[in-house]
């Protein structure tokens, strides 16, 4: 099965061929590197931009205004902060012009911890991004979801922020991308650029099929009756593992992958919380003014009388950065044990 980086590359190839994507660009996105995480290797419209994040977001807006369909990359989300006002502008252009202009553009950026990236290659961007109206915001946790969400993003007439959990970019999926070959090594031979001289290399793309995951739809990953855990991105597989482990202890946890942060699948969350009466939200962004806090607030306001325990949030610590040493990173963002413990406590909590 493909990993997420390969899935993203295949979705972009599909989008170049079938969805009118004209430009895939950013720092080191074009040949020879194809992106620092290899997500853009071998793509025919990929090109290297100047080292200028504001220029990248601005150019994407201008291209989109002129009827093109750009997919811009910011190398690490830690460096997207100097474009915040342009992101705000991209989000409000349709509204401020009373519906006259639309910006069909996608911005991709890797987020979160997991590669021992220290202070400036580990940050999350979900809380900040969900604070900017007019954008759609998605974050896959599996290669197939990455493929399907990116295809939807490239079809959307609005700006879409595609957050890539960098810890999961090299993780293989359990599901096949429609059209990918059975053999993983065969896939790698076809679409991964060789080491060394790549000047003569051309990818051989598999015959990919259309597969779109609608933006705004969550995924019920596992059914359960005693508690609900809602997550996305890097912490998602940890939540799934926690649910399996707790099942062995006789605790039944329902697992939801949000996939889309804005708009999001409140109906799915609501139905689950009404069933289980207990909910834990998990993400790794810093915990103060966290997107999970919004979900907790909405749960309290709308589902208070269904609750058997206070809704809870496990998130990153509110510290200025993620330190390089292993122990520092581990202490800063949720780990497997934090989630399992929080869920166990939640399941046992009685009104």
């Amino acid at each position: 099965m493909a990993n997420m980086a390969q899935a993203i590359r295949m979705a972009l190839h599909y989008a170049e061929e079938h969805l009118g994507v004209t430009d895939i660009f950013g720092e080191d996105v074009g040949a020879p590197l194809g992106g620092v995480f290899t997500c853009t290797q071998g793509l025919k419209t990929a090109w290297n931009s100047p080292l200028d994040e504001r220029g990248i977001i601005g150019a994407a807006m201008g291209l989109a205004m002129a009827g093109n369909r750009p997919v811009a990359e910011i190398q690490f989300c830690d460096y997207i902060y100097n474009t915040i006002d342009l992101l705000k502008l991209a989000g409000n252009t349709h509204w401020s012009t009373n519906g006259d202009w639309a910006l069909p553009m996608v911005v991709r950026t890797p987020v979160g911890s997991g590669i021992r990236g220290s202070l400036y290659h580990s940050h999350s961007f979900d809380a900040t991004m969900t604070h900017i109206p007019g954008w759609k915001v998605v974050m896959p946790s599996t290669p197939l979801d990455a493929y399907g969400l990116l295809i939807s993003a490239c079809q959307d007439p609005n700006p879409v922020m595609f957050l890539e959990p960098k810890a999961l970019l090299r993780v293989k999926g359990d599901e096949r991308i429609p059209g990918e070959p059975e053999d993983d090594r065969a896939l790698s031979k076809m679409i991964d650029a060789p080491l060394g001289d790549r000047s003569q290399w051309k990818p051989q793309w598999p015959a990919l099929e259309a597969f779109a995951i609608p933006i705004g739809k969550g995924k019920l990953v596992r059914e359960g009756t005693q508690a609900t855990v809602v997550s996305y991105g890097r912490t998602m597989p940890l939540c799934i593992k926690a649910a399996s482990q707790l099942a062995e202890e006789g605790l039944s946890v329902e697992v939801i992958d949000m996939r889309s942060l804005w708009p999001y699948d409140w109906e799915m969350i609501k139905a689950s919380v009404q069933k289980t009466g207990r909910v834990l939200f998990v993400n790794e962004d810093t915990e103060v003014t966290n997107f999970g806090e919004h979900l907790v607030r909405r749960t309290v306001e709308e589902l208070f009388y269904s609750l058997l325990a206070p809704p809870r949030l496990v998130a990153g610590k509110f510290v200025p950065g993620i330190g390089l040493a292993d122990a520092l990173e581990m202490a800063s963002v949720p780990q497997q044990n934090d989630i399992t413990t929080a869920l166990r406590t939640l399941c046992r909590e009685q009104p």
């Binding site: 150019a59 201008g62 093109n68 252009t93």
Partner: protein, 335 residues
């Protein structure tokens, strides 16, 4: 790199066809009367904020007249700032739209009552939304220029902004992105230099001799012109646009202009006597060369004054947007 030679240029003969001079004059008057009406509306409490371009008509009218107006990459894109009502009128916009935006009515054609005066936007004419953050348009403009280069034809991108704003990084972004040898862009980069930020003078803001000198470092041909002279503006813009259209490469123009009513309503919006008034200077020359007489010019002004007074009365009775319309147009629908 020529420095402005105001006195000499202003007494030079008017080397454009007579009809063209009359047309430019007419639009300059129309734009001036529009801005004065907007200021009056603001002062009478029919709007919350005024910012606009009285004093820049001699440059902005020729710019609008020379643009290839239409929708899509075959036509010119304008990424402007908030002092360009005269360009918009020269591009065929009706002045009542600006009044509607001042009064923030539901009928405001540019934003439906959502945005400030002077913040125009019109997709059917490739007028990119004008926004309040200074200079962001310089980061966005290379994108439409890239699309135009790929599209072919002779459509170009035009970006304008103020001199103080050139201190922002987006201005440098524009020079960098427009002049990369791997992909030079068909873009006309314009700075209208009125020598002021809001209250910060040019010498507190930047130290180059001419702002256009900054283009040299990027091998972008550049000129500093007297933007208070409509004939010089027309001819220099025409030459620059021809170059960009044909060569598909950037050109840079710095236009020295006046700021006749201060920065905006925030600084009072009162007439500043010390600034050169491009309209008065042009009218003296038109009269001197026998192209228009005082009576004809007064008639034009009176006609527009009456027209805009009537338009203001119309706008006064138009509805405001309803509160629940805040939910409209957050997202575009798939077509």
């Amino acid at each position: 790199m020529s420095r402005p030679r105001l006195i000499k240029e202003n007494s030079a003969p008017l080397s454009l066809p007579r009809e063209q001079l009359i047309r430019i004059h007419d639009l300059m008057v129309k734009a001036r009367v529009l801005e004065e009406r907007l200021i009056q509306m603001y002062k009478q409490g029919h709007g919350y904020f005024w910012i606009g371009g009285p004093g820049e008509e001699a440059f902005n009218v020729p710019l609008g007249l020379l643009m290839k107006v239409g929708e899509g990459p075959a036509y010119d894109y304008l990424h402007a700032h908030y002092r360009q009502s005269a360009t918009l009128l020269a591009m065929g916009e009706e002045p009542i739209g600006a009044l509607r935006q001042m009064k923030n009515t539901a009928t405001d054609p540019y934003s439906g009552g959502r945005n400030f005066a002077g913040h125009f936007s019109r997709r059917s004419k490739n007028i990119a939304p004008i926004t309040s953050p200074i200079e962001v348009q310089y980061a966005i403009a290379p994108g439409s220029a890239m699309a135009q280069k790929r599209h072919g034809g002779d459509g170009i991108t035009i970006v304008t902004g103020g001199d103080a704003g050139t201190a922002e990084g987006d201005f440098a972004s524009c020079l960098v992105w427009s002049s990369r040898p791997a992909n030079p862009l068909p873009i006309l980069i314009i700075v209208t230099n009125n020598k002021w930020g809001i209250s910060t003078t040019a010498d507190g803001q930047h130290g180059e001799t001419n702002i256009s000198d900054r283009a040299r470092a990027f091998n972008i041909p550049a000129k500093t012109i007297n933007g208070n002279d409509p004939v010089e503006s027309y001819q220099e813009l025409q030459a620059a646009m021809d170059y960009v259209r044909k060569e598909r490469k950037p050109f840079f123009i710095e236009a020295r202009v006046s700021r006749l009513y201060g920065h905006s309503s925030a600084s009072g919006a009162n007439f500043v006597n010390e600034e050169q008034d491009c309209l008065r200077l042009f009218e003296a020359r038109l009269e001197q060369e026998g192209i228009l007489d005082r009576k004809q010019m007064d008639e034009a002004r009176n006609r527009y004054t009456e027209e805009l007074a009537a338009a203001a009365r119309t706008v006064r009775d138009e509805p405001q947007p309803s509160g629940d319309s805040i939910w409209d147009h957050i997202y575009a629908e798939k077509k």
